[in-house]
């Protein structure tokens, strides 16, 4: 499978995701933000980091960059798109995903391992997980507090578009297991067609037992099949 990782000035998880993709046998290419065409890809990843310094608003400038028009075109024609952390923020800025990421409730950057629950395995991103499986996964963000309007919130529930929710070690979903104040403990969502996934946690950080664990591996192995 062919993947492309979009590199913005200020992206800083681009190498990490490339390492993870190559480890999972993707044929990966790095695409510089000034490019105006995209190579044919089965998967496009928008990595974490601080694109354009996240000045103005997280993801706002990247959402208007020249390469992003190509990403939108690809998304609309059904290409798989994965946005992680800053990538999720950028996807909401482009409108490919609805809602927005507000500042964390405690107004501080948070980096730690948290637990998330897999809410829907009927997608190209999550098929290798078990329903309600609990993953231990790293978050690192200042603006991860997901928020959306009432109508979209209902749509998320009705269409089963919530991919992951923050939970505790035993799977309880409550305010105590919500690290950043996200609405309904949302950690990641799909678009209606489920070819786009945006998530705040970093699956690429969880593919190596030496460093952390391998709870992120199945996300990539779901994609490759």
């Amino acid at each position: 499978m062919k993947s492309s990782v979009i590199v913005f000035p200020g992206s800083n998880c681009d190498r990490d995701i490339a390492v993870a993709l190559e480890k999972m046998q993707f044929k990966n290419q790095m695409i510089w933000h000034k490019e105006t065409t995209l190579p044919k890809s089965d998967l496009i990843v928008i990595p974490g980091g601080f694109s354009y310094g996240d000045y103005l608003r997280s993801g706002a400038i990247a959402g208007k960059s020249s390469i992003i028009n190509e990403v939108i075109k690809a998304a609309n024609s059904g290409c798989l798109i994965l946005g992680i952390c800053n990538g999720f923020q950028i996807l909401t800025e482009t409108g490919l995903l609805k809602g927005t990421l507000l500042r964390n409730k405690n107004l501080k950057f948070i980096n730690k391992d948290v637990y998330i629950k897999v809410m829907n395995t009927a997608s190209r991103f999550t098929s290798k997980y078990q329903n309600n499986q609990i993953l231990k996964i790293n978050i690192a963000h200042n603006e991860g507090n997901y928020f959306t309007d009432k109508k979209h919130r209902e749509e998320l529930q009705k269409e089963n578009l919530i991919a992951f929710k923050y939970c505790d070690e035993s799977g309880n979903i409550s305010q105590n297991s919500n690290p950043n104040g996200a609405l309904d403990n949302i950690a990641g969502i799909f678009n209606l067609k489920k070819n786009i996934l945006g998530m705040m946690p970093h699956p690429e950080r969880m593919v190596d037992k030496f460093i952390s664990n391998d709870d992120g591996v199945n996300l990539f192995s779901s994609l490759i099949n």
Binding site: P9, G10, G49, F50, K108, I110, N111, R205, S212
Partner: protein, 726 residues
């Protein structure tokens, strides 16, 4: 403009220093030249008070590729891999403007490391605040922590280890020391020495603004009640631009375009150009009208003294300009040829075609003032604390009080604000004795730790100096790394004060002795004097940053107990030294007596044996015993995985308080699987290493025979509440 006495004084220059300037120039300087002398001759840039002492430190070893004198130190870790690292202070700016002060401290030290061709792989910090009850502490802590995180998180280098401490001595002068560690290929290291005549001198990076003018001079004077007015001398950081600069520099470094490269740190364009020319025994001519400026109508004086961040000066090989320019264009960074090298040995500054200043380089560099300042030996106290005369307190209550105190509480509140995982090579994060960073795409790793002991250094500078080196060495051993070399950040008060200068000289004597004995050379460092306000100097606070090597990383060794029913042994002898201990300070508010002695022979032997046991995979967890003594170290091992212990009372008649809270040095606690115990004991005996079996791990309770019994969940809770309630 006529140079008056007032102007000279405002530039921090002494009268006889000014006379020397006149001698070097054979005339009076103009204001631009005076500014440049002031920038190069201040304490921060010239090391004029410290040089004579720094020379005594051991800086060589077969692992050392580059010792002090370059942007950072370089060591060899085999297979053509080199580690480049340095620690630096940003104390003064952080006290005035905590967020930007701390952020630019991180930015500055990162540039020192990637200037030499390294990709930075880890950041560390040592931050010291005043009393938690002091009105400024809370906002300073918040500002500094978010500043460190703000810069490191954005540029995408993991902040993996550090120390956060509180002590009244820093009430009016906090310490913010940042360390950066980078990885380079051994045959691709870049230096600052200029070579060749008529080579292009290129300015790259951010534009020059009016921020930070005279920043280095500010850092070379004490604070007073008007310190707030110094805010404009604090630089403003832009980690986004630094990320671009990092990637652009590393891209240009792939081939042989660069002759020499130097970041613009303290004293900006002045010190970078002087340094490069001085090292190459060359002259340099700059056309200042070409300097990219952020603000209108900037004068040569402002351009030469600005400390705007994220800028570099590069001397290029002939014909490489277009190639280099393309790379910086790609990253949207300024790239301007602003001058050329020549053989005049002068710094020549032109503005609109007119020479505005001309100074012999040697006057600014090797002939800068050096002072062998007066110093007096520390008057050592012989006071002993009679433990029997102290007010009685139960062991359990003392333990609870200490592990819930600001200095011993869990520091997740701090470390969770730092991205520790980005780059995906952090095998061990903050919280253990040292962090472990894997070398990308290899199975080897480095361990890193920063350490300080201001109370010990205050009461006995020589012992304190030895102790911090030994503790740092021990911390690396405890995670299974062979200690290789250190960098040091020497935070002291006013060097014109004989007592302070004495503390400096004697701390360095201690550091020297320990480094020599442990074969643990100093490869880089930084001196920060004038830490104090209104004649009140801080405690002497040298900080040691150490790097060690793990040749083959299998499973990172943490300090947390792993299993129930393991044997617990202490390596090293317990004498029960209580003076200058955490116990006396926290429980009885007594700060008296001398700190524990350092026996370097035992230190080395114990460390080497422990390292062997770890490398032989005979140890399940390891922790060095430091502040708080045996009981605190045990509780830290218990808290991580909530695994309890059952500890026997000592066999001899030693006082229990002394036994459990004494801070004798050179000791480690090891968790050993029952089946390995015989092997371990055999190795310890055959190396003449003193050890004691003190108990075993168990479920649920942290227990000392008849004295202490606390549920491990409770212990965890007690240790985790202070920051969240602060």
């Amino acid at each position: 403009m006529k140079i008056t006495n007032k102007i000279i004084e405002n530039h921090g220059l002494k009268k006889d220093e000014y006379k020397n300037i006149q001698k070097f120039l054979k005339r009076d300087p103009n204001i631009l030249e005076l500014g440049i002398f002031s920038a190069m001759w201040n304490e921060h840039c010239s090391y004029k008070s410290s040089k004579v002492h720094l020379k005594k430190l051991p800086t060589k070893g077969k692992q050392v590729i580059q010792g002090p004198g370059e942007n950072a130190g370089v060591i060899d870790i085999g297979d053509n891999d080199a580690i480049i690292f340095k620690i630096e202070s940003h104390n003064h700016p952080s006290f005035i403007e905590p967020y930007q002060g701390a952020a630019t401290g991180v930015g500055g030290i990162l540039r020192d490391v990637f200037t030499m061709g390294a990709r930075p792989i880890a950041l560390l910090n040592s931050i010291h605040f005043g009393s938690p009850t002091h009105p400024k502490t809370k906002s300073l802590l918040n500002g500094v922590v978010s500043g460190i995180g703000g810069y490191g998180n954005c540029i995408g280098i993991p902040t993996v280890a550090g120390e956060t401490k509180f002590n009244e001595t820093y009430n009016e002068n906090i310490l913010v020391n940042a360390m950066a560690v980078g990885h380079a290929k051994k045959d691709k290291i870049f230096y600052s020495k200029a070579k060749g005549i008529n080579k292009s001198v290129v300015y790259v990076g951010s534009k020059t603004g009016r921020d930070g003018i005279h920043g280095a001079s500010m850092a070379s004077a004490e604070f007073d009640e008007n310190s707030e007015e110094k805010k404009p001398t604090v630089q403003v950081g832009d980690p986004f631009t630094e990320k671009l600069l990092l990637e652009a520099c590393l891209e240009l470094m792939k081939d042989n375009s660069i002759i020499s490269i130097q970041d613009m740190g303290a004293a900006g364009l002045t010190s970078s150009s002087v340094e490069m020319a001085s090292k190459g025994s060359l002259g340099i001519e700059l056309e200042l009208d070409k300097v990219p400026c952020r603000e209108e109508n900037m004068t040569p004086y402002e351009m030469m003294l600005s400390e705007s961040q994220e800028r570099m000066l590069i001397i290029l090989e002939d014909g490489k300009e277009n190639h280099a320019r393309k790379i910086f264009d790609k990253w949207d960074l300024d790239f301007v040829v602003i001058g050329r090298t020549n053989n005049s040995k002068n710094l020549t500054l032109k503005f609109n075609g007119k020479v505005e200043g001309e100074i012999p380089i040697e006057a600014l560099a090797e002939k800068a003032p050096v002072y062998n300042r007066k110093w007096i030996k520390k008057k050592l106290t012989k006071n002993k604390v009679n433990v029997k005369s102290l007010k009685k307190i139960k062991l359990e209550n003392a333990l609870i009080k200490i592990i819930s105190s600001p200095n011993h509480s869990n520091k997740n509140w701090v470390t969770e604000q730092f991205d520790q995982m980005v780059m995906c090579d952090t095998a061990q994060r903050s919280g253990s004795d040292a962090a472990i960073i894997r070398i990308h795409n290899k199975d080897k790793a480095i361990a890193v730790s920063v350490d300080s002991s201001a109370n010990y250094c205050k009461s006995h500078p020589i012992s304190g100096g030895k102790q911090i080196v030994a503790e740092n060495w021990r911390n690396l051993i405890s995670v299974g790394a062979k200690p290789l070399a250190i960098t040091n950040c020497l935070n002291f008060g006013n060097p014109e004060n004989e007592i302070v200068m004495g503390e400096f000289a004697e701390c360095l004597e201690g550091i020297r002795e320990a480094c020599e004995y442990l074969e643990y050379p100093v490869v880089s460092g930084n001196v920060s004097f004038y830490n104090g306000t209104n004649k009140k100097n801080i405690y002497p606070t040298p900080v040691i940053g150490g790097v060690g090597l793990i040749k083959k990383l299998t499973e990172p060794l943490t300090h947390c107990f792993k299993n129930f029913g393991s044997k617990i042994i202490i390596v090293g002898k317990t004498f029960g030294h209580l003076e200058q201990s955490c116990f006396l300070k926290e429980i009885h508010s007594i700060i008296d007596g001398k700190p524990p002695d350092i026996n370097l022979l035992n230190e080395k032997n114990n460390g080497e044996v422990v390292l062997k046991l770890i490398n032989d995979k005979l140890v399940s967890s390891a922790h060095d015993i430091s502040s708080g003594g045996l009981i605190i170290a045990l509780s830290e091992m218990s808290i991580g995985n909530k695994i309890g212990v059952k500890i026997n009372k000592p066999h001899n008649l030693m006082n229990l308080t002394e036994y459990f809270f004494g801070e004798d040095q050179g000791r480690y606690i090891l968790e050993i699987n029952e089946e390995n115990l015989k092997k371990v004991e055999k190795i310890l005996k055959s190396n003449n290493t003193y050890y004691e079996n003190i108990g075993y791990t168990q479920e649920n309770f942290f227990e000392i025979d008849g004295e202490v019994k606390i549920n491990t969940n409770e212990l965890f809770k007690i240790n985790n509440q202070w920051y969240n309630n602060f």
